[in-house]
């Protein structure tokens, strides 16, 4: 068995193991789940270490014929592989999972067995999404990764979990259906499901077909990211999900959307991406500002962080549609950054919720005095999110803005205002929670975070600093693949210019012929 297959299905094996265990044995169940994710994490890391960033090729590929699409001669394969566009997400998923499992010790006390079964199935789904190199397989994993979240939110969520779940479900189904239409059309038009071949074949389809397929994929992934105006499911899902669900949602699941945008919308239809560059950069830039304003108005800290995701993902979308090397590299790096900083913030909010059973910001105030270690971690995470140099967020934001400025000074300049508005909502939330006098008795005797809680955040905090100080370690993984992608975008640009040239050049020629015809 090759390494990626093992990596993808290890969590599923863990899930089956947990299923076989008696439900009362919660301690053992937690241990099995933790062990599974730790082993998966270590395997993921070792695969990551062996990754060659200079190469643009798919690495660690495995390929096996799966089935033939009924009624056609198209062979669907079980095909896995990773390149510079997916490798960081694979690594992030594998190291986040053990942390998330460890975090559940504080807040999952009912139906423990089911919870971990869903969690582990979700990990298989998420890894599969990033590793699939066959479009049908991709779709299968995409659905597998979504189903568990309905249950995670619907069963272990907050008071309004049913509303949140239904909303999430409707949006997701809508997105999935649109994507399915795009996938079927693409397969029928190109007669293959191999994603690597699709990257060249899709660009050779008639322009009109490319156009609507591009929009089908773009729409599906935009709902998932989510970008404006599809973002309202996110705030509800995040707010109602248990901490662990929120961390995974922010850390990995949303990135499936941005990953899909790069892999499919941009990667397969670069010409269409170029044609609609302004539209998507605009959506990103407006999302940055809109999300920030939305966050400012929130009174619930978890909802505030959820809204901040809209703003941060606006950066990611704007950066990738800069369609140049700086923007794409920054965008991919920022996916990881956002996973770390927002993941940390959700963990911290979860910790304080477990103690105070409220997330209303006004209920706090001055808790830096009673929980100094908590405050320390909160401020670091906040600063990472604000994009302070030295921490990870800055590198990504700087690259995204620099790349976007090259493509569109206007949208980039609008995006830059995000650094002001981001500071407003994050700093004011921090101040209202941590600083000021301790006015409520409940806050006076809060116990500070314990060793387990510190321990589970340390790897993430370490990564925040490391990525801020030595981003080249991670950017190096992107070299080959992003170079290749940019190369294809440039080719598409030449092709597009030629097409446009033909269109304008065709007109006078035609008139000439018409004229001669008329004169005859």
């Amino acid at each position: 068995m090759d390494s990626l297959t093992v990596l993808t299905f290890l969590p599923l094996i863990g899930a089956i193991l947990v299923m076989a265990m008696p439900a009362a044995q919660t301690k053992a169940i937690r241990l099995v789940a933790l062990a599974t994710t730790v082993v998966t994490g270590l395997l993921g890391l070792s695969i990551y270490m062996g990754f060659d960033g200079a190469s643009a090729a798919m690495q660690n590929t495995c390929d096996a014929a799966w089935f033939t699409l009924p009624g056609t001669a198209i062979d669907v394969h079980f095909r896995l592989g990773m390149d510079g566009i997916s490798v960081l997400m694979v690594a992030l998923t594998s190291i986040l999972m053990p942390i998330v499992i460890l975090s559940t010790y504080g807040h999952i006390h009912t139906r423990v067995k089911e919870f971990f079964v869903w969690m582990l199935i979700m990990e298989t789904g998420m890894l599969g999404v990033f590793l699939s190199m066959d479009i049908i397989l991709f779709y299968v994993f995409w659905e597998v990764s979504l189903v568990p979240l309905y249950f995670l939110v619907g069963i272990w969520g907050g008071d309004q979990r049913i509303y949140a779940t239904v909303k999430f479900f409707l949006y997701t189904v809508a997105g999935s259906l649109v994507m399915l239409v795009g996938i079927i059309a693409l397969i029928l038009a190109t007669q293959t499901t191999n994603m690597e071949s699709l990257m060249t074949l899709a660009g050779e389809l008639p322009v009109a077909d490319q156009g609507w397929m591009f929009f089908a994929f773009a729409l599906a992934f935009c709902i998932k990211v989510p970008v404006l105006p599809f973002h309202t499911w996110l705030a509800d899902a995040h707010t109602q999900a248990p901490t662990s669900g929120s961390v995974l949602l922010a850390g990995v699941l949303l990135k499936m959307g941005t990953y899909g945008l790069i892999r499919f919308a941009i990667g397969m239809f670069p010409m269409m991406a170029l044609q609609n560059q302004g539209l998507f950069m605009g959506i990103g830039a407006i999302g940055i500002v809109y999300g920030a304003f939305l966050a400012m108005a929130q009174t619930d800290i978890k909802r505030l962080i959820a809204c901040s995701s809209v703003s941060h993902l606006g950066f990611v979308v704007m950066g990738m549609f800069a369609l140049n090397e700086i923007g794409l590299r920054g965008s991919i790096l920022q996916m990881v950054n956002h996973g770390l900083s927002t993941g940390l913030l959700f963990l911290l909010v979860g910790m304080v919720y477990e103690r105070r059973h409220t997330r209303v910001i006004a209920e706090f105030g001055g808790i830096a005095a009673s929980m100094p270690i908590f405050a320390f971690f909160f401020i670091i995470s906040m600063l990472s999110s604000v994009g302070l140099p030295g921490l990870n967020g800055f590198v990504g934001e700087f690259m995204i803005l620099a790349g976007s400025f090259e493509a569109s000074p206007l949208w980039a300049s609008i995006g830059v205002t995000g650094v002001i508005f981001g500071a407003i909502y994050l700093l004011s939330a921090t101040r209202r929670m941590l600083f000021g006098p301790l006015t409520r008795d409940e806050n006076r005797n809060l116990t500070d975070i314990n060793v387990r809680e510190i321990g589970l955040m340390l790897p993430m905090v370490f990564l925040c600093f490391w990525m801020g100080v030595q981003p080249n370690v991670f950017l190096g993984d992107l070299d080959g693949s992003v170079d290749a992608l940019v190369g294809r975008i440039e080719e598409a640009n030449i092709k597009l210019k030629a097409l446009e040239g033909e269109a304008t050049a065709a007109l006078p020629v035609l008139t000439d012929e018409n004229l001669t015809e008329v004169s005859r």
Binding site: H231, L294, A297, A368, F398, V419, I420, A423, R431
Partner: protein, 663 residues
Amino acid sequence: MKDYNLLWLMPLLPFLGSILCGALHFATLSARKKNPEIGHGPGALAAPVAIAAMIGSFAVAVTAWLNLKGLDEVGRAMGVESSPWHWIDLGPFSVDLSMVVDPLSAVMILVITGVGALIHIYSAGYIKGDPGFAKFFAYLNLFVAMMLMLVLSSNLVGLFVGWEGVGLCSYLLIGFWYDKGWPAEAGQKAFVVNRIGDACFLIGAFLLIRLFGTLDTSEIGAAVIGMLDDPAKLKDLGLAALLMFGGACGKSAQFPLMVWLPDAMAGPTPVSALIHAATMVTAGVYLIARMNPVYAACPDVLFLIGCVGALTAFIGATSAIRQTDIKKVLAYSTVSQLGYMFLGLSTGAWAAAVFHLVTHAFFKGLLFLGSGSVIHGMHHEQNMYKMGGLKRHMPKTFLTFMVGAAALSGLPLMSGFFSKDEILFMTYSHGGGYIALWIVGLISAALTAFYTWRMVALTFFGEERFDVDHVHPHESPSTMTIPLILLAVAAAIGGLLNLPAVMTGHPILHGWLEPVTEVGQEVLVKLHLVHEHASHGVEWGLLALGSVIALVFSYLGFRRYLKGPEPDMSFARRAPGLTGFLGAAWRLDGLFEVFILIPVRLLSEFISAIIDKLFIDGAVNGAASIAKLVGDDTRKMTTGSVKSYAVWMGFGAAGLSLLLIWI
């Protein structure tokens, strides 16, 4: 270019010191949990650690300076450089950081580490007994590390790292007494207002990338000359210069972004001295001096900088007159003095601006520390109306404060006299519209002398207006007075650094900075922007005029308030409107509130409640309820009766055939 890798030690030492102090702080916290009466506990070690780091850093700065001094003119222009650290590989180009000491950064690092070390020593006395003792030094050391990063970086991204880093430390230190609430608010205000400037800075930097393909300051400087014949590029360059100046306005508290600095006084006084007087707030001045070739190529932007500087100097000085809080007087005074520095820059007198930056670091640092000593001795009283007669109780503080006041008010032969007069002289000799700026500068100088000696009179002279039974003013410990004395010496004789050309012929600092400023000078010459220097007679005349104004208005201010604050009350009775206007610093805070804060808040509520909830969610929920409605109605058709199904089927078939025929 001379390699000197020890330069990395300069920011690294205080950085490590900061981490160590932070660890000591957490050690103290856990020790305090077991025994609440422990006092500083292990945190007591923080002061020696932080001070040692500062002294080490200062020593490296001195060796760097000596290294640089040993080089010839060309070598100095290149500077002493450390090996680079490859930071961000953007793809098309890479952001590499290296530490460079050239004549300009040499001046800055000596001020930062020198004055910084003194303020660290002072703090050990000032902050003693505070539960956050170790934390304070952690922040203070981190600040110095970031400030050094700012001035040592060879490119604008590295500079921006320091720029944001000092902003963070400023935020943390202003809000050091976070449990009181308002310091935390002041810290947040400082950070957010600064971020407005930072956003401008970033856009400016991206424009520079576009123009030059690099952010290395010396490469940009060298390339400017070749751009002078290209009007389109010059226009972009002007925009970039303007945006960068926007960044400088935030950090250096210039109009209209100065509103954060007076509030920043909520922080402990050593912080006000180090960050909000001597070092961080001068970063904007440093930035423009560093980018002097770019600014030299944009005369319109320069004139605008001059207008902003003069206006800020005037607003600051008029506001300082009406303050009752001793630290607020100094805060507005700092705003005003920074305005002078920008006025100097706007005339192309880069060296004059840097000269004033240095002397200001001495005398304003001294005055802040002196005010801290007063506040310390008065049990945290900051209102000058409740002081008076303190010269008897704290003689060392009093004497050193007098020296600082003399320098600030520009009394003849003090450091501030020479530096301020050089700026005013350069403004005058620039001619044209600058004459108006010179007049504003001169009026502000008169006001400066007036408010300075009002402050001295109210604080140290007259009768004791505090509650003698409960407040027993006392002189501060020697950890605090020794830095005061050293700074007083510097504030008194600092003028020697750059005596006017009419006196010596060769101003020292001017010559020292020449390798850095000559590129800008060259650009000015090429654009025919260099003016004939006014004659020696005029220079002597202006020096005399400056002396007379300083002496007269110092005397007036001192005399008027010698008997106490009564003249303020009578002025307030006569002109209540003006009093309120000046006391509230021209009500700029109110303008910010009305034009920025309230619209932002309203917009955010509008987006959240109307657009998001009503429109977007409304549409989604509406769609869902329609679907539910349709579902509920159609469910009624599943009656289970075969007959009704047959009828529906018939209808359906008929409908379909109609559709087909129609198509």
